[in-house]
Amino acid sequence: MSVDLAGALLTAAIAGLFAGAPLAVVRRSAGYATTLVASLLLLVVAADALRVGSVTGVAWTGPLGDPESLSLDGLSAFFALAASVVWAGTSAYSLAYDTRSSPLLPICYAVTLGAIALLVAATNWFLFLVGWETMTLASYGMILQARGRPGRVFSASFVFLAFGEASTLFVIVAVAGLRVGTGSFVQLPYLATGAVATLVFVAALIGFGLKMGVAPFHMSEWLPIAHSSAPSNASAVLSATLTLAGAYGLFRVLSLLAAPPLWWGALVLGIGAVSVLLGALFAAVSEHTKGLPAYSTIENNGLILVALGSALLAQAEGLTALYAFALFAAFYQAIAHAVAKTALFLSAGYVEHSTGTFDLGAIEGGFKRTDGAAYAGSVAATLSLAAAPPLAGFVSEWMILEALFQSYRFRPEWVQFVGLLAGAAVALAAGLILVAMTKYLGFSLLWSPASRGPQGRSALLGGVLGALGAVILGLGVAAPWVLEMLAPTVSAFARAPIAVPVGQLLSVPNGWSILSGAPFGILSPPVVPIALSIGAAVGAGYWLLGRAGRRRVPVWMAGSAPARTDETYTSFGFSSGIRIMMRSVLQTREVRASTPSGTTAEFAGAVPYSVDLEVLDVFKVFYDGLVSGGARFSTALKTAIMPGRPGRYLAYILIVTLVVVIYTAAVG
């Protein structure tokens, strides 16, 4: 594609995303169809940008005199590509299923998409900020609720907005720092080291971290999704692409700064490791079909930060091979997560559609046997998030752990120690997320005879989920070639050519294996499904041959009749072991209501009593305290200054007049 055509298409794509909003006013499906077409267009453009290196669209001079343009270089092309895959999926899903939400939703949906595309394509920080704030406001609109839920201090959407504005605040500080440093709003490298660079880094880390939902800001991610009735397309966009926007911002800022000192990388690594562990832990004990994937997003974004932190540490230590490898790991993880999380939310939406509930405990299988493609895609997404081979999540988890294993290469011991702890946290989280995804797969996705069918066009959903599942599988199996495609991205980030860590092992053809060090570890993703297939074929052969002598019997229930539905392990019971084992972190409490004097009925009518096991996010306690403390302070201040007594107000007027008179007299 010629540069001009590509640029024009880029502009058209972004405009098309925004255009979905007015069209949605006319007719909902028109809006979604427009965003679908626009995101497919963006996909093509971004892929082309990765191939040729950059694409420039329309350019103009901004209100502050700086040149502004919409263009994609290697770094932004990657994020645009990942986002457009997500948007294509959610738009197609919305076409089929979003017929009942408020009219505000498709409008805000389109505006959010356009805003994210805008900020990714912006080459000027001012335009970036415009896109950022628009994105925040539009996504607030997507999940807007009329009033808060009973028993909560603030509504979930308000929490989202509060964190979103806090994020904007810190991003503005970072942009201001860069403006001071480089003298212009254009996204130019700032290579000086010093207080300004540190300020930019810290502000960017906090601001973009708020958006990514990493610890200690993870409440911004799980609360709005788990506690609002945000429909699935909104949840997918929030979880997959807003966080992707946050990641893009952080990567962009870091790419413009000079080689970082060690503590930057250690800080990023530490924050990432804590997020990974917290996200996985809360996912394992979550009973909400949207809350569980939301916690998984926190975990995956933590993994992105872990990879990024390793890369920064390697850069500070001058380990170029590890630096490259960790960067590839970070980007690969980003796209693997985006695709899988989208598929997961869409299937959660489908399950909610067919069963009417978000409660894992109330679902007895969400899919019918005929939903083959949809089912396969959902299973692929779940297993990818659980890092099962040969899917994309497996490769990304392997790469991140390999990067952490090489912490011994760092010279200062404290850095090695940080890497060690981070590795332990990631490994523990991998186990916990396996519990979470097994629970999700088993209790919400697995087919059972009681499943009711879909209501609506399931062929479309099957197509979407099947396609996403195929993408996940393809990303995993063809990982070495995906890394080759990511070379321009990594080079754009590092502002230097970077060698792709792909090589050869024994008789496996060259370019089929990923090398994690020089030398260290090696993985050949295309060979994994071959090995798995051989094993599966052996198993299948054994199964086929043994069919004659096989008998079917019900599950052994110690002689009792096969379990009724109220006698099987609930999803809550499945993870109660973790609730009780990790009770100090989760602050597990047993809440008893209407307890009689003893459990055994006192020979009278037995009064049922209830026992509930509850967990708590300790950070939420902190935020609740912060919020209520702030509310109390402002009320107190208001009462002190504005007591509502006219006498006091008159006194204010008198004092101010006096001061002005004296000042004027003194000056004049």
């Binding site: 405990g361 002689g559 109220d566 003893g598 055994t600 009925a601 509930d612």
Partner: protein
């Protein structure tokens, strides 16, 4: 001595609700009720107490005699909550070794409530007894629970003898007591071995099982049957303990007691063993009394009641027994009570041998509670056992029973509340319950 082991009172003069009074037996026809007073150590027999209450301890006992099977052996209050479900365990589960089911209410890991369900292995015992001779009925009675055969037969025969006013040779009563104490030692050793097995104390468990096996073999040598079947029945060719036999016995008993002492001191030093049973499945004293508990379980919760002291038959009236008692009410306390009882049984066996009665001496039966109807209580290894036998024309007419397991399953439900799954086996074994004696 013809002191009746209870005080007869009328229903309107008896305050059943007074603290520390517990119901011990309610006859199926509603004519008699037996109460224990734990404060004074007395037993009261109330005549014509009225119809059986449909809730509370008597109703649990009555279920075994009714037609509905299976039935629950305890009624914990229903529990609800998010994610709470019922986990059925049984009836075929090797951990419990008998057939009975437990419906556990749980949210996963923790037992919120447990409903024990019995009646799976009901052999319709009571229905098969009508019209049999005492000897034939005895064959079935001793197979109510094989390892409690001596206690069941002793109680049944004592009730039948009291019903007809038969005078029994003292030597016969001595033999019955001897047999009961031997079986008590076996059963307590078996309980300790099972708890040790559940605690993975493999060496200790094997040693305890070996001691139990030696006791069973001893019973086989002395009485001709490892479980004493046929040994105590009237008209049966039971091995009587002749003076030759009695001289050979003390050597074995002394050696066995020393081996047990050595074994128990090793158990006490095992921190892991003690930790696992300490504070497991506690039953507080007031709950134990209120729920009608009996036996070592009741004594472990701090109640000083043992039938051999409070309502003794000959020969226990002449023997010295220290009441085995603990106060903590947890599994460790129940084990400690059993250890004390083992030692007490060895002492009782020695006393029995020393005071063996001369030939020809007879004992006097307890007075009947009604013409042709006798009531007897013995302290079986699992606890207080009550037999209420009506005899007509030399044949058994009706039999009412209240066994210790019937009384103690509600204490199991109480003790297991809020325990974790892994402690289930300790708790169950520490109560020493047998499903075979919960139903008729």
């Amino acid at each position: 001595m013809t002191r009746a082991p209870w005080t007869l009172v009328e229903a309107d003069r008896f305050d059943a609700g007074r603290a520390d009074r517990a119901l011990a037996y309610w006859s199926p026809d509603g004519r008699f009720a037996l109460y224990n007073d734990y404060r004074t150590g007395q037993s009261f027999l109330v005549s014509d107490p009225g119809p059986i209450p449909d809730q509370g301890p008597p109703s649990w006992w009555a279920r075994g005699a009714g037609p509905a099977r299976p039935f629950s052996l305890a009624d914990p209050a229903p529990v609800e909550g998010y994610g709470v479900f019922t986990f059925p365990y049984g009836p075929v589960s090797l951990g419990v070794a008998e057939s009975g089911r437990f419906d556990l209410r749980t949210y996963g890991e923790r037992i919120l409530a447990v409903t024990p369900i019995g009646g799976f292995k009901s052999r319709r015992l009571r229905a098969g007894l009508a019209g049999l001779s005492l000897a034939d009925a005895g064959l079935r009675i001793e197979r109510t629970v094989g390892n409690f055969a001596a206690a069941h037969v002793a109680a049944f025969l004592a009730a039948a003898e009291s019903a007809v006013g038969a005078e029994v040779p003292l030597e016969e009563l001595w033999v019955r007591a001897f047999a009961q104490e031997l079986q008590r030692i076996y059963n307590h050793l078996h309980v300790i071995a099972r708890i040790a097995e559940a605690a993975n104390q493999n060496v200790g468990s094997a040693q305890a099982h070996a001691l139990a096996e030696e006791m069973v073999r001893f019973q086989g040598r002395v009485f001709g049957h490892r479980w004493l079947f046929g040994a105590l029945l009237p008209g049966g060719p039971a091995r009587r303990l002749g003076s030759e036999d009695r001289r050979a016995i003390p050597g074995f008993l002394t050696g066995h007691e020393q081996a047990f002492d050595r074994l128990w001191s090793l158990f006490l030093e095992s921190r892991t063993f003690i930790d696992r049973i300490q504070a497991t499945a506690p039953v507080p004293r007031d709950r134990a009394v209120r729920l009608g508990g009996v036996g070592p379980t009741l004594r472990a919760s701090g109640v000083a009641w043992d039938d051999r002291l409070r309502v003794p038959h000959a020969p226990y009236t002449d023997l010295f027994l220290t009441l085995p008692q603990e106060s903590a009410g947890d599994a460790l306390a129940r084990v400690l009570v059993r250890v004390q009882e083992i030692r007490a049984s060895f002492s009782l066996l020695e006393q029995l041998l020393e005071r063996w009665p001369s030939n020809g001496a007879v004992g006097t039966p307890d007075p009947p509670i009604a013409p042709g109807r006798g009531l007897a209580r013995v302290e079986a290894p699992s606890g207080d056992l009550v037999y209420d036998v009506t005899v007509r024309a030399g044949r058994v007419d009706q039999v009412g029973v209240r066994t210790a397991s019937q009384a103690n399953f509600p204490l199991l439900a109480e003790g297991l509340r809020d325990q974790v799954f892994t402690d289930f086996h300790f708790a169950y074994e520490s109560f020493g319950l047998v499903f075979a004696e919960t139903d008729g």
